[in-house]
């Protein structure tokens, strides 16, 4: 995955960049399955590698460009990224070890969710729809708003052909 991202940063042909982004999504989905997150992996594969790639290709067709050669040497962004990364790693060393059963994440709410009060085997669906139903309502509204926003942005006004919205 790291290799994919590095090549993606260097390439200028946008079509290859989009294909690499799709490959990256599939690799992420595989890693997520290895981390036992099957629902998340399915969604990431469907959304990231499927819908996202289609949308990017559609936008590329409408924008029809190739990335211009960068004018400035990217020393300042590299420095910023490297220093931010160093700070983050320094902070991450304080986080719990990988797969530590005593980590706080497993202590408070998760055992209650796993006790299956609602008698639905897929705990993720139960949490999503029942225990945390408000969040899902908010998210559905966000998705709806995004759709409405895109309708507002890309709508064509009725009128003469040259009379398009600028």
């Amino acid at each position: 995955m790291a290799l994919t991202v590095l090549v993606l940063a260097r390439l200028r042909n946008l079509f290859s960049v989009i294909v690499l982004a799709g490959i990256y999504s599939f690799l992420t989905a595989t890693v997520l399955v290895a981390l036992d997150a099957v629902d998340v992996a399915m969604t990431e594969a469907a959304v990231g590698a499927g819908v996202s790639t289609v949308l990017l290709l559609g936008a590329l067709y409408l924008c029809r460009s190739e990335e211009a050669r960068p004018v400035h040497r990217p020393w300042l962004p590299l420095a910023i990224s490297a220093s931010t990364g160093a700070l983050l790693i320094h902070g991450a060393l304080g986080l719990p070890d990988f797969a530590d059963p005593q980590a706080p994440i497993h202590q408070h709410v998760a055992p209650r969710y796993l006790q299956n009060e609602v008698d639905i085997p897929n705990v993720v669906t139960a949490v999503l729809a029942s225990f945390r139903g408000y969040d899902t309502l908010g998210e559905t509204t966000v998705v709806f708003t995004a759709g409405a926003g895109i309708i507002a942005l890309l709508r064509r006004r009725r009128g003469k052909d040259g009379d398009d919205a600028k």
């Binding site: 099957v38 289609v54 897929n122 139960a126 029942s130 899902t136 509204t141 309708i151």
Partner: protein, 145 residues
């Protein structure tokens, strides 16, 4: 022409299974991985596949614009409807325990309808975005400056 023939045949074979799989993921989301989001996206992907092979005009005949826009809003309304049903039957907003005589059965019903609402909205949004992007022609607006 030959490659188009292959695409058409494969499309006709695969698209029903894709749509069926989306419905399966939706309803089996209680027992295996899946649920509303995945089902909505897979269903939209099936329709997108159809549109890519057989043309946008044919896809618009099957799922016209007014249906997609209705689906957008309908999903959110179903979700809010389930919440209001909780209030009308005596509980709090989005309370599933009161939706049926047996509280656990009420949970099942509530979760079922909520997932349906989510899937409908997600499918509608994905399809609408696809339609908007592909129906816009390159000639819209000013050309290269």
């Amino acid at each position: 022409m030959r490659s188009e023939l292959v695409l058409r045949v494969i499309g006709k074979l695969l698209i029903p299974f894709i749509l069926l799989f989306a419905v399966y993921v939706q309803f089996h989301g209680d027992f295996g991985p899946g649920g509303g989001f995945q089902a909505g996206v897979i269903f939209a992907a099936g329709i997108v596949f159809y549109a890519l092979i057989f043309g946008l005009v044919n896809a618009r005949k099957i799922i016209p614009d007014w249906l997609v826009e209705t689906m957008l809003a309908l999903g959110v309304l179903i979700y809010i409807g389930v919440g209001l049903a909780g209030i009308l039957l005596g509980g709090a907003f989005l309370d599933y325990f009161v939706l049926s005589a047996d509280p656990v059965h009420g949970q099942h019903r509530g979760i079922f309808w909520v997932e349906v609402g989510v899937a409908v909205t997600v499918c509608g949004v994905m399809l609408k975005i696809f339609y908007m992007f592909t129906s816009r022609s390159r000639a819209d607006g000013p050309g290269d400056d």
